[in-house]
């Protein structure tokens, strides 16, 4: 057992209102620079939709992620030799136009235009070439189902949906959508790192954050193809790859990442999980239908004495173990089985988990109010407005069972809380609903509390990074980096004597 730590995340999609506040917070902090204008390390997509970059989920096009070839786990993109053969031209590289061409407006023209019969206009200009351009796409062009016949209708996740289910998603007055906020998943088996010929992309041993070394990166661009989530971006100005850094300078000082901190719906949870690094490969290799379960098994129980002992042997401090025990991610993923990885079939073992949305309300209307007690408790699930198959294509490699199980649990928790707070569902009925999905009233209360009423410290359990101790080990002097947080000189600006 080789225990590693991972700062892991859960997004509760029922709570996402699609406001893009996370996106803007991230943009302002990290990507408001030349060459990075088109990058959105955090973005919010409307589902159904084609996403950003367009069709990123279609791995027949981009060849991201892993595949099992016989008994071997290999990148879908190419073998290692193929990486050298394709080094002069990467045939699977998304183009700027697959994202969108970033633009600004010639505002100065509004002031400088000579007097004339018409109002002056600020024409859009490309932020790459500086030339006039026609705006044809943006990073969230399909927001709230905008242009659905083009975008929503081409969602790769519609695969396997029958005619009726597709109509459910697109017909006027029936159509439905939900939001999918995305950041880098900081995978346990990252495709980007594996595809990098230079070895420039690494996972930090201390917290599992995946970073690109800007010095080592030579811009071969294989990571961009290798990441099935298209969360590594090419900076066309510096010629280097960049990606979400999970705001590690904030984490190291005990603050939540900018997108987490700014989330209006408070949908985001962050905490440590311990996992067994020896099992990464075997976990990523299991049959498609077993992937969700296998990944859950790879994450270890931080209360298990054997796990604690092995963690300590690997130099994990008591504070981190304590943080792992209080981790909201551990609760949602492992204890309550509510959170699922996005597209587990890409086999990168993403460490960002999603609680699939129950909303919009799935019950039928009865006497002007929503009725969640039909004859069969969970009878409404199959009539869910978002077809189960669509959700399954996103969160469980097309297998309906895990998604349905999560939704049934969420309904049971709602029924339980309704019985407690409103009282129009009998205690017995709520109790048997809970029993059917294997929850106790206490657990249901715990889920309710962490879902609806969590404090800041419950949503973000950030372990102490103990930089002092790490610095002491590295430089033998605990004060050697004093006053340098956020700067970290590589070559000291020392002058004079």
């Amino acid at each position: 057992m080789d225990i590693r730590r991972q700062i892991s995340m859960v997004f509760h999609l029922d709570k996402c209102i699609g406001c893009h506040t996370c996106t803007v917070a991230c943009k302002n902090v990290w990507t408001d620079r030349k060459g990075a204008e088109y990058m959105w390390w955090n973005n919010v997509e409307t589902k159904p939709g084609t996403g950003y970059p367009t069709h990123w989920e279609d791995q027949e096009k981009y060849r991201g992620g892993w595949m099992v070839d016989g008994n071997e786990l290999r990148l879908k993109l190419q073998r290692k030799g193929g990486a050298l053969g394709n080094i002069f031209y990467n045939p699977r590289l998304p183009q700027l136009d697959d994202y969108y061409e970033p633009w600004t407006y010639k505002y100065q023209d509004l002031f400088d235009a000579p007097e004339g019969d018409d109002q002056p206009t600020a024409r859009p200009v490309s932020m790459v070439s500086g030339e006039y351009m026609d705006i044809e796409a943006g990073p969230n062009w399909d927001d709230d189902l905008g242009g659905s016949p083009v975008y929503a209708a081409n969602d790769p996740n519609l695969k396997g949906l029958d005619e009726e289910e597709r109509r459910q998603l697109t017909d006027l007055e029936r159509m439905v959508f939900f939001y999918l906020p995305r950041i880098c998943n900081h995978c346990a088996n990252p495709g980007c790192s594996a595809a990098c010929p230079m070895g420039a992309i690494y996972k930090r041993g201390e917290d599992g954050i995946v970073l690109v070394s800007q010095e080592k990166c030579r811009g071969w661009r294989m990571c961009i193809s290798g990441c099935p989530y298209k969360k590594v971006y090419y900076n066309w100005s510096t010629g280097k790859s960049e990606k979400c850094v999970l705001c590690f300078p904030r984490l190291e000082t005990g603050q939540a990442p900018a997108c987490f901190h700014s989330c209006v719906g408070r949908i985001r949870y962050l905490g440590v999980v311990l996992y067994d690094a020896d099992r990464i490969e075997e976990t990523a290799k299991v049959d498609e239908q077993r992937l969700v379960e296998a990944q859950r098994e790879m994450i270890l129980d931080p209360f298990d004495p054997a796990v604690i002992a092995a963690a300590k042997k690997n130099g994990i401090s008591d504070e981190w173990i304590d943080a792992a025990q209080r981790s909201p991610v551990y609760k949602f993923v492992k204890r309550w089985h509510l959170a699922l990885p996005l597209h587990p079939e890409f086999r990168t073992l993403p460490m960002l988990f999603y609680i699939p949305p129950l909303s919009p309300v799935m019950a039928s209307m009865k006497k002007g109010s929503y009725d969640i007690e039909e004859t069969e408790f969970f009878g409404t699930i199959d009539k869910a407005r978002v077809p189960l198959q669509f959700m399954a294509n996103l969160f469980s490699a097309g297998d309906i069972a895990p998604v349905s199980y999560v939704l049934r649990r969420l309904i049971a928790v709602r029924a339980h809380r309704r019985s407690v707070s409103v009282g129009d569902i009998s205690k017995e009925k709520a109790g048997s609903m809970l029993a059917e999905v294997g929850l106790t009233p206490d657990e249901a209360d715990g889920i309710f509390k962490l879902t609806s009423l969590p404090t800041y410290d419950e949503r973000f359990v950030i372990p102490p990074y103990q930089r002092d101790a790490a610095i002491e080990e590295l430089w033998n002097d605990p004060l050697s980096q004093k006053g340098e947080t956020g700067f970290g000189f590589r070559a000291r600006p020392k002058r004079g004597a």
């Binding site: 002069f88 031209y89 070895g199 992309i201 130099g315």
Partner: protein, 224 residues
């Protein structure tokens, strides 16, 4: 006098400059040590430029190096009537490299997005490269069977340079075309550390042996 400079002094200057500035840039500005790919901005024309150019020039350079470092095996290779097909292959590759380079050059000048990431040095480098391969092709076409006379002339001169006893006797009688080509080669060596040619030493062969996942630990010695 000028021959003495171009063929006995300049090569050493060029190599010294390439090594010193190359190392200086690697240590001081490693961030810039790449080819600054523009495939993200324009892909389809790049394919028709980059792929033929790189593969053709790699084979041509390999032939130049082999004929210099191992003249006898090279002559043996060309014996037995094999000189003719190799000659055809060489001319074909040089034309391919010219075609690729022209495609890259026009792309760089005509595509507004690519132009946005083009520096004056990029244009200088492309012009020198183009001149060099055109000269090479002209030599291949006008002075037939270069593979046979190269080891004894240019190859011998390169050996004399490598053994630090520069000798002009094998260069002086050569035609102007060949002299220009030889000096041009060392001009490219000069350009190496100052342009995106530095990507030549970025070939990531280590990838073939390293494990897929790279993990880095902050703490020294904390983990295997």
């Amino acid at each position: 006098m000028s021959e003495l400079f171009w063929f006995a002094v300049f090569p050493y200057l060029a190599v010294a400059l390439a090594v010193v500035v190359g190392i200086y840039r690697f240590v001081g500005a490693r961030f810039s040590y790449s080819s600054l790919s523009s495939q993200f901005l324009e892909s389809s024309r790049l394919f028709w430029g980059s792929v033929p150019w790189h593969y053709a020039i790699l084979f041509i350079l390999a032939a130049h190096t082999l004929a210099w470092l191992a003249p006898q095996p090279w002559i043996d290779l060309l014996g037995g009537g094999r000189a003719y097909p190799l000659e055809v292959l060489g001319v074909g590759l040089s034309l391919l490299s010219i075609a690729g380079l022209v495609a890259l050059f026009t792309r760089r000048l005509l595509n507004p997005r690519v132009r946005a990431v083009t520096t004056p040095m990029d244009v200088v480098l492309l012009l020198v490269l183009l001149g060099q391969v055109v000269l090479g092709a002209a030599i291949a076409v006008t002075l037939r069977f270069g593979g046979l006379w190269y080891p004894a002339t240019a190859g011998a001169w390169l050996w004399s340079l490598a053994t630090l006893s520069p000798s002009l006797q094998s260069v002086t009688p050569l035609p102007m075309l060949v002299k220009l080509h030889a000096a041009g080669g060392f001009l490219l060596v000069v350009l190496f550390p100052f342009t995106r040619l530095v990507h030549l030493v970025s070939l990531p062969l280590g990838y073939l042996w390293r494990p897929y996942q790279v993990v880095m630990w902050y703490r020294r010695g904390a983990r295997p």
